[in-house]
Structure formats: C-alpha cells, structure tokens
C-alpha cells in the first residue's frame, strides 16, 4: 500500500525532553525538594500475616518525628487502581492496615527533618504483633482449612464475602467446547507457568505531598494517571477535588508499577496532612521489591485441531496467585480470556480463571497485563500442533490468526471491536527472511554441546480500551491545544509518558494537524486542576487514545485560527490551508494557487489578540470507539549450552504493526526494550518466597534479583527491528500502539527456539540453567533407556 506522506509524523527527531534527561536536569519525584520538607519512612511488617495489636509512638515523637498509625487514618477501604468502573472495583485495603498480610506491608510511618532522623524514629516505634497463620501457595490457599486473608471486602459498595481465599472467578464460553474437541482430529494439552516477575523500574516509587493553606493538598507522585491519584486522595481524605492538585512529573520507568495510586502516596498524604508540612516519601529498593510484582500465571491450555491445522476448539484454565491484595485481578482474568480468544480463531472456546489471595507482595499489571503469560502458552502450543501435524509453525499461524474484519477483544469480553488494519502476514513473511527460517533445521539434526535453534512467536496488544459501548473499564482522554501570539502552539494534557515517547508523539500529531513546525509545538506542564480527565497511560493507549484527543483539539483550534485568518485575508476559511515553514519557524496559512493570499500563523494569532478577537484554543474530551490490536512478531535464535543449561539469545528480529509509526527511533526502542524484558521473562526473572518466613529469598535486594545487563543481549548487528506497512483508519494519522505489545510474544518465541534447539520443550518460565540442565539430563537418560 502507498503510505501517506507527512511533514512531521514518521520523522526521526530528537526527543524534546532529551536535553534535560541527558544533562541530569530532569526532575523526577524523588528529586523534588520543597521548603520545610520532611522526610518519611514506613515501618513494614516482618511477618507475612499478623494482627497489629499496638504501636507505641511516644519515643519517636519525643525525637520530633510525626508518627502515623492505623488509628490516624481513614477507615475507608480502597483499591489503588481506578480504571475499572466502581461496581467492578474490589476494595480490600486502607491507608495503613490493622492486619499485615505480607512481609513488607506498611503498618506505620514517620516523618522527620532528615531521612536519618526519620530512620532513627522508625526504630523507636514499638509494635506488638499477633502473628497469624499464613499461606503462600494458591492451591493450599483454596483448601477449606487454609488460613484466611479476608473474611469480606467490598465490591463497589456491596460487601463481598471471601471464601477459600478466592478473590474472584471468571468463566466464559462460546460455542460448545466439548463438541469442538470431539470434532477435532488432534487434541493437544499442556500446562504452562510464568514467574512472579518484579517490575524493576529503575526509579523506586515515590511522592512529595504539600498540604495547602486552604485545606487542600499538592502532590508530585510517580504515577501513570494524575487524575486517578487525585480522585482517590479526595475520596480517602474527604477533600474536594478542586483543592487537590496532582502534578505530572517524569517517571523513571513504570512497566505497570504505577498504574495504580501507589500505597506510599496515601501514606505520604496522611503524614503531610498531619504534619502540616510538605513530606517526601521515596521507597528504598528493598521496600519497592515488596510492593508489587507481575501477575504470575499457571495456565492449563488445550487446543483441538483438524488435520489441516485449523483450530476447532480451545480451552484455557488459569489460577493466578495475586498475593495479599486484589488490585486488578478481575479485569486481568477478563483480559486473559480476551488475549486467548483474539490470537487465533476458535469456533468453540471455554475460559476459566481463578484469582487467589496469598500472603505475598500483591501482584499488579506489568507490561502486557496477562498477555505475555497467555501468549507464552498459546504460542508454545501452536508449535506443538505444528510438530504433531508435521506442518511449518508459520503455516499453522497463518491459517488461524485473527485478522482483518474479525472481532478482537481489546480488554475482556465487554471491550470488543473489529480489526481494520493488520500486518500479521507481512511480519511473518519478512521476519522469516531476515532470520533465515528456511535453513532452520529440525532438532534431531543437531548434535554437540552448543545447540542453536530458531523460534517464532507472535502476539498483539490492544491499543487502549475504547469500544462502541462503555464497558467495565473507563477510557477517554482530554487535551487542550492553543495557538500562541508568536505562532507557537501549546498542548496541555494530563497524559503521562513512561519514556516511550508518548508525549513526543503528541507534539508531532499536533504539529501535523496545525501545520506549525515541530520546533514550535510544546507540551505544557500538567496538573489535575488545569486539565480534563485522562484515564491513565496504560493498555498501550497513549498515542492511539491520547493522541486522538490531541488531534481533535488541534483540529478545533485550527478551525478558530482559520476563522481569524479569513477575516484578514478575506478568504473563506474552508479554502485556507496551513503548511509548516521550517525556515520561518512558522506555520503559513495560504490559499492554494493564489499569490499574496498568505500569512503566518503568528501574524494571525497576534492580530487576533491585538484586535481582541480572542485566542485560537480548544479543549476536547474524546473516547476512541475502537481498540485496534497492534500486532507483534519475534523471531529469536538461541544457543543452548547443553552442559551448563545456559540459554543465550544470539539473534532476534522484532517487528510491530503499529499502523503509522510516529516516532520511528523510539518505536524501535520500544521493540528492543520489550525484547529484552521478554527474554528476561523467559529465561531469568522471578521472585521466590521462603515459606518459613514469608520473606523474599533475595532478601529484598536486587543483588540476587537483577535484570539482564548489556552483556546478555545479542550484538547490535544481530538484532533487526521493522514496522509493518499498515494504517489504522481509526487512529490519529493511522497510528496504533506499540508499548506493551513489544514484549508479549517474546517468551513464546524463546520457548519455541529452545524446543527447536533441543527437541525438548520447556513450559515453565523462567528457564533457568538449573532447570534446563536437570530436564536435559533426564531427557538424555530416557532416550538412552528407550
């Protein structure tokens, strides 16, 4: 297809926040300093499950510390994530709990003049605990005699009893799955696991809160949604939203770790309100490791297929160990079902998901929200089908993938839309050539100590959670665009950028739409008092949804500007166009084919101001009524050292169908970063608990829980990235998302590459050398025995 050409969209440019980031001048939450600011520390439970009987604060207070205990905090139960509609929001926690449900759960806090003083005061808090029996395994937790984490919680405004520690359960059916399996020629079934991965965002969560003289509060948090932080603080502390100002501040990586209003924000706000002074609370790494993790998965997956490879039926059963709080398990299960049904067509399907409380750090969203877990299972089993039918794995994929014109579940069963752009086939074909798929051998042809194998994995992610009807999840964005009196443009939006270039993309979208050169379009600092609502930068929605709202605001402001221009040029506004003039540093308004009928944007805006016509400004709240999938494909070659069990990724191709690519270098960077994290999910990352103490075996330090370093990645010349040539009709200038999609297919591709290398399939990630070597040794023994 022939791509449209744009003046700004798709051009590689230096990111606008680059200079401040590369010079160390970017201010993150942990860098914020305010006059009179106190430093806070949180006392954390050493027990996995214990009732806090009493906390004596006198000695800490005698040191001058402000102390916060559960009795100082509102009793209202909250859920830190505010993306689901209220009646689907599970509320099980308070600012400080009276019962600690995992090691590291905050139970009291202090604020003092220095961090050292706060640390000393913390040591003076005398706590009496009543340890309670605890449970760490989700299966044990579901046993009738197991210790219970909760008697009841709230679902919306309704009391919800919790039985057998089951936080929630979802089941979905389409067609008749049993009949589907009966009609199948081949049925394959396996169990898959992925680890309890720590987000490992490089900035630990933090916040600065300043109480205001009017009884309100100002907040600088690590957060993916400033508006949700405001709403929750307003509800918890009973402060009118008009008096709560949450500022957008750059975040040092998120990957889902700040999709919710992190608990440290509520604690810090309570401390600031009590102290009457600004308070900064920044988690230490060891606190952060006990704060959140990715949802681990245990998936039982079954496919029934015809001899020609056509999938007839699919069944997925999953148990998710959510840890001590139900942050977003209900939408997670819906999404897992959605990811499952939207990868490959299956006339008959059945999904069953159970989320279980245990006494571990709570799990929350992490890049892909169940999709890396589901895709790991599905992509692995698709290769098993190919092996069983003696088909090329790519052919099985091409035969069954959900593509153009078909229905896609963007965010569970209530968020569905029709696919209108699809680069699946293009990515498979081109990727196949780049990796050298045709020369891929069968495992039986390999010998020796080091064995290489090539695997493919594909997946997708939703771009936002928009749909024709409002469902279980809220989705819209608000943006303001205005022309300044010198011809430059401000764009104001509460949308957050996690580093991937979301706001960079918005400047390009606004530049393209207004005709003003990119050098004159800036994103304004944002806070909740000056912006309309934006749900959150999550679900890979920043560019597709946030960008669409900015484009609409730009369109409207442009219309006003052209009205002004028409008065000056005496031309009907409908006939006027704007083109960017980089030399002038201006947008130029002109009438096509008419010499002399042109004027710069700056002149028009200035004239409008002098003549008191007004400002060309528009604010738009916009909901996307689609959530198109951004498809991804990885081809990965691994080398397995069969004597040490070590698996090394040696080459990779990563491709995305993101529709029109707005920031090519940053989009490629998303693919590379996703590849690295996806390989980490497959080969390295997990967090283990000691069942005797309930503590992390790594002790909460990253010393033994590190992510990949630069040494583990393939060489730069051995990694290729590319974009499918598509355009999404519903996206701003044809754009879809990239973000989360980038890591969704990677673990599956790695598993398939390992299976191709060894002839032995690993279904439980991470594939640590210890596990690989033990299985390989058994496999050789069995082979020799047989």
């Amino acid at each position: 297809m022939v791509r449209k050409t744009y003046s700004t969209i798709g051009r590689t440019t230096r990111r606008k926040d680059g200079v401040s980031k590369v010079t160390g001048r970017e201010i993150f939450a942990s860098d914020v300093v305010l006059p009179q600011m106190l430093h806070a520390r949180v006392l954390r439970s050493p027990y996995p499950h214990a009732r806090v009987v009493s906390i004596a604060t006198a000695e800490a207070e005698a040191m001058g510390a402000v102390c916060l205990t559960p009795s100082d905090c509102p009793a209202w139960l909250y859920n830190e994530r505010q993306v689901s509609i209220p009646e689907k929001t599970y509320r099980d926690r308070t600012v400080l709990p009276e019962t600690a449900r995992h090691v590291g759960e905050g139970i009291a806090a202090v604020a003092a003049k220095t961090e050292a003083l706060a640390e000393q005061a913390l040591g003076q808090l005398a706590v009496t605990y009543e340890p309670l029996p605890s449970v760490f395994d989700p299966w044990e937790a579901m046993a009738p005699e197991a210790p219970r984490l909760y008697k009841d919680i709230f679902l919306g405004d309704v009391v919800l009893p919790i039985e057998r520690n089951i936080a929630c359960f979802r089941e979905m059916r389409e067609g008749e799955v049993e009949q589907g399996f009966r009609e199948s020629d081949v049925v394959v079934e396996q169990e898959f696991r992925t680890g309890r991965v720590y987000h490992h965002q490089m900035e630990t969560k933090g916040v600065v809160c300043r109480p205001e003289p009017d009884g309100g509060i100002s907040v600088w948090p690590t957060a993916q949604s400033i508006h949700n932080v405001r709403q929750l603080l307003g509800r918890i502390f009973n402060i009118p939203l008009s008096k709560i100002n949450v500022h957008r501040i750059p975040i040092g990586g998120s990957f889902g770790s700040s999709i919710q209003m992190n608990t440290c924000i509520a604690i810090c706000a309570a401390l600031a309100l009590k102290a009457g002074r600004p308070v900064r609370l920044v988690l230490t790494r060891e606190e952060d490791l006990y704060d959140h993790c990715k949802y681990p998965s245990l998936i039982r997956l079954k496919f029934g297929v015809k001899k020609d490879g056509a999938i007839v039926a699919g069944e997925m059963t999953t148990v998710v160990d959510i840890g001590a709080h139900n942050i977003q398990a209900y939408p997670l299960l819906g999404c897992m079902a959605g990811w499952f049904v939207s990868l490959y067509r299956m006339p008959h399907m059945h999904f069953q998901g159970t989320a279980v409380y245990t006494n571990k750090a709570p799990a929350c969203a992490m890049q892909g929200y169940g999709n890396p877990q589901v895709s790991f299972a599905v992509e692995s089993l698709i290769d098993v089908i190919a092996e069983r039918l003696n088909m090329d794995p790519i052919d099985v994929r091409l035969k069954n993938y959900v593509g153009l014109g078909e229905t896609f579940w963007g965010q569970g069963p209530t968020v569905r839309s029709v696919i209108r752009s699809c680069g699946v086939e293009e990515m498979l074909q081109k990727g196949k050539d780049l990796i050298g798929w045709e020369s891929r051998n069968r495992p039986e042809a390999r010998s020796g100590r080091f064995r290489r194998g090539i695997g493919v994995g594909r997946s997708f992610h939703t771009s936002g959670t928009g749909a024709p009807m409002s469902g279980e999840v809220i989705d819209y964005s608000t943006a303001l665009v205005k022309f300044n009196e010198d011809g430059s443009v401000d764009c104001l939006t509460p949308l957050m950028c996690h580093g991937g270039g979301t706001l960079e993309a918005l400047t390009k979208i606004v530049s393209e739409e207004t005709g003003v050169p990119l050098s004159k379009v800036e994103i304004s600092p944002a806070d909740t008092r000056s912006t309309g609502y934006d749900v959150c930068t999550h679900a890979t929605r920043g560019v597709y949804c946030g960008g669409a709202s900015a484009r609409r605001a730009a369109q409207q402001a442009r219309g006003i500007l052209l009205q002004f221009a028409s008065r000056i040029l005496e031309v009907n506004p409908e006939a006027l166009k704007i083109r960017p003039d980089e030399d002038l540093g201006q947008g130029v308004i002109y009438l096509e084919g008419a010499k002399g009928k042109s004027i710069t944007v700056g002149e028009v805006a200035k004239t409008a101001q002098i003549k008191s016509w007004g400002t060309a400004i528009a604010v738009v709240s916009h909901r996307q009524v689609n959530c198109p999938p951004c498809f991804v494909t990885n081809f990965i070659e691994v080398e397995v050292d069969t004597e040490t069990g070590r698996i090394r990724p040696v080459r990779a191709v990563a491709a995305v169908d993101a529709g029109t690519v707005i920031n090519p270098d940053l989009a490629a960077g998303q693919l590379e970063g996703g590849l690295c994290r996806g390989i980490g999910l497959a080969l390295l990352e997990d967090t283990d608990y000691d069942p005797r103490s309930g503590a992390l075996t790594c002790g909460g330090n990253i010393t033994d829980c590190k992510i990949f370093t630069a040494l583990e990645m393939p060489l730069t010349e051995d990694v290729a990235t590319f974009f499918a040539e598509t355009e999404e009709p519903s996206g701003p200038f044809g754009a879809k998302g990239v973000g989360e999609a980038a890591n969704n297919c990677t673990a599956g591709a790695v598993a398939n590459a390992v299976a191709n290398a060894l002839g032995l399939r690993f279904t439980d990630a991470p594939m640590l050398p210890e596990k690989v070597l033990a299985r390989w040794t058994d496999y050789l023994r069995e082979k020799r025995g047989a």
């Binding site: 200079v19 490089m202 590379e672 990253i702 370093t709 990645m713």
Partner: protein, 170 residues
C-alpha cells in the same frame, strides 16, 4: 555526630562542607549541592545509577563516603555540558540514537560511557558492553545505548542507520 570539613571540587566548583563520616557522596551531591543527576537505584552497588567520576574514574557514589574523597575532583552529569550550554559529544550521541527512554539511568549511562571514551576513543562493541554491564536500564534493552556510544568512537556526525538486515542463517 562530629562533623569534619570536607573539600570537594564538583564540576569545577570547590565546596567546603561540614559533613558527618557517615555521609555518602551520592546524598551529599543530591541533598547538599542540589545535583540530582546521579540517582539512587538500589543503594547496594548493583544498579550503577549513582555513578559519577571521581578523579576521572567512574565510581559508585552510593558506596563512597564523602570524607574518603576529601580533596577529590568530581564530575557529575551536570558537569559534562559546557558553560555555554553546548553538550558533550556523548550526550549528543544519546539524543541522536534514541538512547533515552524514561531517562532515569541516562545520567549514569552517560557518565559510564564517558569514563570509557576518556581512555579509549574507539571502543569496540564488546568493550562498550563490558563497560556498561554494571549500569542497568530497564527500558531500552541497551542496544540503542551501545549504538550511541559506538557512534562517538566512530566519530560519526550523523546517526547510524537502524540495524541492517542480518545475515540470513548460520
């Protein structure tokens, strides 16, 4: 606790500070001098985000006692750009190669790279990877950072092309 006078020359400016022995260089830079480019990432020497140059050598400021570097010449990321605001070539390279995402590791990555380029004007890719192995980045997968550092050695003014299509098989 008894405070001792510590003299630190940071980015060319000499400071005489009264510090306790337990003051860590990272916290002195951030809290006393307001230089927040160096970051806390783990506090245990595992992530490298606190890296600064002490007497020209990249060290971990979270594991350096300020009293132990009395008299030292210290360069933080804030000191790399020139007084007129123009950037160091390594900073330009990071901008041109999309080597920045969230930006939290960027100051440390830039300093870690600078340490290498000061000794070795034309590092190979393995040398670059070994140099930055102790500075963690969760966003980029490191490849764009490696390309940026490599381009400084190559003295290429223009951004290197994106990865060329790889060899088809081996």
């Amino acid at each position: 606790m008894k405070k001792t006078e510590v003299c630190l020359t940071v980015n060319g400016v000499t400071h005489h500070l009264g510090l306790s022995p337990n003051a860590l260089l990272l916290n002195v830079l951030r809290d006393e001098l307001g230089l927040t480019g160096a970051k806390y990432g783990c506090g245990t020497g595992q992530c490298g985000l606190c890296t600064v140059l002490v007497n020209g050598r990249a060290v971990l400021s979270c594991l350096t006692l300020a009293v132990a570097v009395d008299g030292a010449d210290i360069v933080t990321v804030e000191g790399l750009s020139r007084p007129d605001g123009s950037l160091d070539p390594i900073q330009e390279a990071f901008l041109d190669h999309g080597a920045i995402q969230c930006g939290y590791c960027t100051p440390a990555m830039v300093i870690t790279a600078k340490d290498l380029l000061n000794r070795n004007a034309h590092p190979t890719e393995p040398e670059i990877r070994e140099q930055i192995e102790g500075t963690l980045c969760r966003c980029t997968g490191y490849l764009s950072i490696v390309r940026a550092i490599k381009s400084c050695g190559d003295r290429a003014g223009a951004p290197a092309p994106r990865p060329s299509p790889m060899k088809k098989s081996r």
